[in-house]
């Protein structure tokens, strides 16, 4: 059995884009979610409301704003990112970042508030205290990571608008499914859809395995 090189390229690009966007969202969302959960500063509630609203952002709206930013005449037009995989990564970060941030904040707020004081009372530095809180909330934090990945691997609107669905360049599984469906090539569309489901399952299976291994420890 041989694999169509074009499908392989689309699959690899989909994974590269969505995994990169999810990891960068984690890099940004974990500290911000921690700050929102543990910090006390003016505007915290407002920021929390923004993040919670962002968790439900429609991808087409994200696509519209990111496209306006990256468009040649837009404020970031000089970077020539529109219709590149980097543009899709940026749009997917905008989608996944609030999900990871909001679920990080919720996971940390669900811990006993006394735990922070207890860790400090045992001589933990701030960094050690936060590290231990992340460790303690690792199961819901991994659930947040899965939700973030799920929100970007399955989205289509933003990828289509900022990536342009260009063959061999920015075509990912979701945009390829739309294209095949619009051409009436339902067999191809179903094949790609099954592939997307398998990839999503495999990534979440891996994360769930890590999560449940943590639960048994």
């Amino acid at each position: 059995m041989s694999i169509d090189p074009e499908i392989l390229q689309i699959t690899v690009l989909s994974l590269q884009v969505s995994v990169t966007a999810t990891l960068l969202s984690l890099l940004l969302g974990l500290p911000l979610g921690t700050l929102l959960a543990l910090g006390r500063f003016p505007g915290r509630s407002f920021l929390m409301s923004l993040v919670n609203t962002g968790m439900g952002l429609p991808p087409v709206v994200v696509g519209l704003f990111v496209a306006m930013m990256l468009w040649r005449s837009g404020p970031l037009g000089d970077f020539h990112l529109i219709y590149t995989p980097a543009a899709i990564v940026i749009a997917q970060i905008v989608i996944a970042f609030p999900v990871v941030t909001g679920l990080t904040a919720a996971a940390l707020q669900a811990l006993d508030p006394g735990l922070r004081l207890q860790l400090l009372g045992l001589g933990a530095s701030r960094v050690q205290m936060i590290w231990m809180l992340w460790r303690e909330a690792r199961l819901p934090l991994l659930a947040g990571l899965m939700a973030g990945f799920g929100s970007v691997i399955s989205e289509i609107g933003a990828s289509m608008m900022v990536g342009g669905n260009i063959r061999y360049q920015t075509r990912v599984l979701t945009t390829a499914i739309v294209l095949e469906t619009s051409k009436g090539e339902f067999n191809n569309a179903i094949g790609l859809a099954v592939l997307l489901l398998i990839i999503t399952f495999l990534v979440n299976w891996g994360l769930t395995w890590i999560q449940q291994k943590g639960a048994k420890r």
């Binding site: 004081l117 207890q118 001589g123 933990a124 460790r135």
Partner: protein, 244 residues
């Protein structure tokens, strides 16, 4: 010998309300000072201030002959250790929980097991070393919490009602063990309790707090025979029979 802790004109407010007022209190080295008083007396607040987990609005605290303001906060917190009313263990084994503060202090790895084992034995929980914290009873968990504080060999040990969340049987056993340990350990300890009878067994001296203010410090018999004011007398009358 000078006092380990000297407190002068300490004030803590919550909004407009004063929740703690201590005009003068010295805690001597090697002394066990028991803090007693009704709910809302400010006992826990005082311990939190002494652990530098709560900043007071005013007042001066001197620890080991240096004003608290001159201590680096982390360096100071590592001279103390705090046990809360509820054990607040982490999702790890008993031994890992007890080793936690040692790891925070970056104690050499090869020194940790012996220190952990010693305090697990002191609290009679050696057999629980590999057990997950979530699998422990309330009494067992509080023993782990105490071992986790003692293993750090703190200059000042702060115990906030360590028996309050336990059933009567677990409470009686832990009370007996802790009383014996404190008597043998010669460590500077401040322990909060509701009960003057317990305080008189645990502490060398007793400090009575009522309504957010420190009212009287002395031996249990002094406090019983000459209460400082009507509120202290009223608090004592509400208590079960006091043994000298």
């Amino acid at each position: 010998m000078s006092a380990l802790v000297e407190i002068r004109d300490l004030h803590v407010r919550r909004g407009e309300r004063s929740v703690l007022e201590v005009s003068s209190l010295d805690v001597q080295r090697g002394e066990v000072l028991a803090l007693v008083g009704p709910n809302g007396a400010g006992k826990t607040t005082l311990l939190l201030v002494l652990a530098r987990l709560l900043e007071p609005e005013a007042g001066k605290i001197v620890f080991d002959q240096r004003p608290l303001s001159q201590w680096n906060a982390l360096e100071y917190r590592r001279k103390t250790s705090f046990v809360f009313q509820t054990p607040l263990l982490l999702d790890m084994t008993v031994a890992e929980n007890v080793a936690l503060g040692l790891k925070f202090r970056r104690v050499k790895k090869d020194q940790i097991p012996a220190r952990v084992d010693h305090w697990l034995a002191q609290f009679g929980i050696t057999s629980l070393a590999k057990r997950r914290a979530a699998e422990l009873s309330g009494g067992e968990a509080q023993r782990v919490s105490l071992a986790r504080a003692f293993v750090l060999d703190p200059q000042l040990l702060l115990l906030d009602e360590p028996f309050s969340s336990l059933d009567p049987s677990a409470r009686a056993k832990l009370f007996g063990d802790l009383t014996a340990l404190l008597a043998a350990d010669h460590r500077t300890v401040m322990i909060v309790t509701h009960n003057l009878k317990d305080a008189s067994k645990l502490g060398d001296r007793v400090a009575v707090m009522v309504g957010g203010r420190l009212r009287q410090v002395g031996s249990p018999s002094q406090i019983k025979s000459r209460p400082a004011d009507e509120e202290v007398a009223a608090f004592l009358m509400d208590l079960p029979h006091i043994e000298d």
